[in-house]
């Protein structure tokens, strides 16, 4: 569901709030580069709370609507389309 979690590294103050707020535990902290990263992008619900909660507005959620949990035909009728 998540194509990319864009991090404005100049704006990021490394407060790690984004790793706290995600209710599906998508975001973890990259110790080596000292910035957040989306470790489990498939679990992103695109609620964008990480964007909203970031005090510096340093994050941008780029969703990937083509990569759902399910293939698109599932949501219609089986065998008829």
């Amino acid at each position: 569901m998540l194509k990319e979690l864009k991090v404005n590294e100049e704006a990021c103050t490394q407060c790690k709030t984004c790793t706290e707020v995600c209710f599906t535990n998508v975001i973890e902290w990259d110790e080596e580069n000292q910035k957040p990263y989306a470790k489990y992008p498939l679990d992103c619900q695109v609620c964008c709370i990480c964007e909203a909660a970031c005090p510096e507005k340093a994050l941008e959620v780029v969703p990937d609507w083509s990569k759902k949990y399910y293939p698109s035909y599932l949501s219609t009728m089986r065998g008829r389309q």
């Binding site: 569901m1 706290e20 707020v21 995600c22 209710f23 599906t24 535990n25 470790k39 489990y40 498939l42 679990d43 619900q45 695109v46 609620c47 964008c48 709370i49 959620v61 969703p63 609507w65 083509s66 759902k68 949990y69 399910y70 698109s72 599932l74 949501s75 219609t76 009728m77 089986r78 008829r80």
Partner: protein
């Protein structure tokens, strides 16, 4: 003999709450209001200690209730006749009708804020029936978490609970693991409250609850009720290339379900006349019937929707709700307003079938279930997914309502156990077995991932002609997918603790899907959200009954129970 402490960290508490979003926090706070001396501990997969947990605070921030200007008895009658079709627990429905407003106002004590008018009253939009919708601060859990801590509630974050523990016939606690370091935790408790959401089968964004509460309660032997009504859904918008689909609050298709057109004809009015407060399977059926008749594609006309008041009715009192709603669609690249676009129905699901009584207690003494975990099982709303999917803003109200039942109920139970002087002990061998089973996927090489099994369950739970418009043949086919997923469970493998939690989800989804289809096959009529092509009529003569499912060794035992109308004020229409 193995010592419990050798198996993991042992925690003791009077009340253990699994899940720390709106219903769990409500239960915790009301338990403390009932008896401040009791120890209350919330464990959560996310970070409930900081108010970041669950899907309650990811919604548009709408809360619906029976206002001071509404007649509670009218609300009860409306629910019985238009929503629940007399499968309601009328005691609980009346309790809700008379107390929802009090609860909304009481929550301000916990720091919850509402959009207010110039006189300080809560601003509401009145529905054309006795119910109003107001705006609640979507970040209500931040305030409530802080308030709960001030009252002495404890929290442990990032724990996945995997199974319940019993002492004979009553509840004794639960156990689970940390998704941070894999440490195993054993919780000894006098009362346990399941507040960990419904089963959404992870099909649509935001609605990603994985039903571990229903699965754990079922495995522990608790009764399930009304599982056949779990088919909540929405229309999904189809993009320009006809492939990419997305649902619900991200889709711009939400609540436009009365304005479906095929070949220029309003098929919503053809198949489902009148004004409807929300999507239901009859709206999906309109799409289904027209599509198989060759009249597709079906489009949704948002011009029509907005011309009739549309979205503004829902959001004019709550700018923040509207901001979040439209923001999600802007992110997706599809603005909300005034468009005509192709839609297909999709499944959200809302399996919440743990049977509870008026104190939110399950059929296992000491085990309680609140919020989305037990909406249908409470039977408060009857023949619909609960929180009643027919009305927007009922999810948050359901969390407050059932949470406020479970907290005092669990406190009373814990106090009684304390007063009796009876020790609550957990079976060490059982904990050892659960621990071994839980971590087994980490040891397997080359097995099946939890996600693959979840995907197989989704093959059974996403198609609209399995879930929304039901028939025996198609449901039997769907159960074939469930059986396939079940057969994969012994081969589950995980590489880390996060993926291990997906294995727990997968196991829960297999149980949830089977509960839904077993109950749906049993109910040979159509009623509320349960729509069967092969039994299209509502059959009051034979089906004013609840379908109850309990564990029977490794299978499911299905029984029916007549609705106790002798004890209720309102009787169903004759015939």
């Amino acid at each position: 003999m193995t010592d419990l402490a050798m198996l993991g960290t042992v925690h003791s508490t009077d009340i253990l709450i699994v899940g720390g979003a709106l219903s769990g926090l409500t239960a915790a706070i009301t338990a403390k209001e009932t008896d401040p001396q009791l120890d209350v501990l919330i464990v959560d997969k996310a970070r409930a200690s900081k108010g970041w947990a669950g899907k309650a605070s990811r919604t548009a921030g709408l809360i619906s209730y029976v206002s001071k200007d509404n007649d509670p008895e009218d609300f009860v009658k409306f629910n019985l006749n238009e929503i629940g079709f007399f499968l309601n627990d009328q005691h609980m429905l009346r309790d809700f009708a008379y107390n929802s407003r009090r609860l909304v106002e009481h929550a301000t004590v916990w720091g919850v804020e509402y959009k207010r008018d110039e006189n300080g009253g809560i601003e509401v939009a009145q529905w054309p029936f006795p119910f109003v919708t107001g705006g609640i601060d979507p970040d209500m859990c931040l305030a409530m978490s802080a308030y709960a801590k001030k009252q002495g509630v404890s929290f442990i974050d990032r724990i996945v609970i995997v199974d319940l523990l019993k002492d004979g016939g009553r509840m004794a606690g639960a156990c689970g693991f940390s998704i941070v370091d894999g440490s195993f935790h054993i919780f000894n408790a006098k009362s346990v409250i399941l507040a960990c959401g419904s089963q959404n089968f992870d099909i649509t964004p935001i609605w990603c609850s994985t039903g571990i509460g229903q699965a754990m309660a079922f495995r522990a032997g608790a009764q399930m009720r009304n599982a056949e009504f779990a088919n909540m859904g929405d229309f999904a918008r189809v993009d320009e290339d006809g492939k990419t689909l997305y649902y619900g609050m991200h889709g711009g298709a939400h609540i436009g379900h009365d304005h479906l057109y095929a070949k220029g004809e309003n098929i919503s009015q053809k198949w489902r006349p009148g004004f409807h407060t929300s999507y239901d399977p009859h709206a999906a059926n309109a799409w289904y019937q027209e599509t198989i008749a060759g009249n597709g594609p079906v489009v949704m006309d948002m011009n029509e929707f907005n011309a009739r008041g549309g979205g503004s009715e829902f959001f004019k009192y709550h700018p923040e709700g509207l901001r979040r709603y439209t923001h999600n669609q802007e992110v997706a690249g599809y603005p909300f307003q005034n468009q005509v676009f192709q839609v297909v129905p999709g499944v959200i699901s809302e399996l919440s079938c743990i049977r509870i009584n008026n104190q939110a207690e399950t059929t296992i003494p000491g085990l309680f279930a609140v919020g989305d975990a037990a909406g249908e099982g409470s039977a408060r709303a009857g023949a619909v997914p609960t929180p009643p999917a027919k009305i927007h803003g009922t999810g948050l109200m359901n969390a407050l309502f059932l949470g406020s039942k479970g907290g005092p109920g669990a406190a009373t139970h814990a106090r009684a156990i304390l007063a009796s002087g009876t020790a609550t002990t957990v079976d060490v061998a059982e904990v050892e077995r659960i621990r071994e089973e839980t971590f087994a996927p980490l040891q397997r090489k080359g097995g099946v991932s939890g996600r693959e099994i979840i995907h197989t369950v989704q093959e059974a739970m996403a198609p609209v002609d399995y879930v929304m418009v039901k028939s025996e043949a198609r449901m039997t086919e769907a159960l074939g997918w469930v059986d396939k997923a079940k057969a994969m469970l012994p081969e589950m493998a995980a590489e880390d603790y996060h993926e291990l939690s997906k294995c727990v989800d997968a196991r829960s989804m297999v149980i949830g899907a089977e509960l839904f289809y077993r109950a749906s096959l049993e109910r040979k009529e159509s009623r509320g959200f349960h729509l069967r092509e092969d039994y299209p009529q509502t059959d009051n003569e034979n089906w004013l009954k609840w379908i109850i499912i309990t564990r029977d060794r490794d299978g499911m035992k299905i029984t029916t129970e007549p609705i106790p109308f002798d004890a209720y004020d309102y009787k169903p229409p004759v015939g």
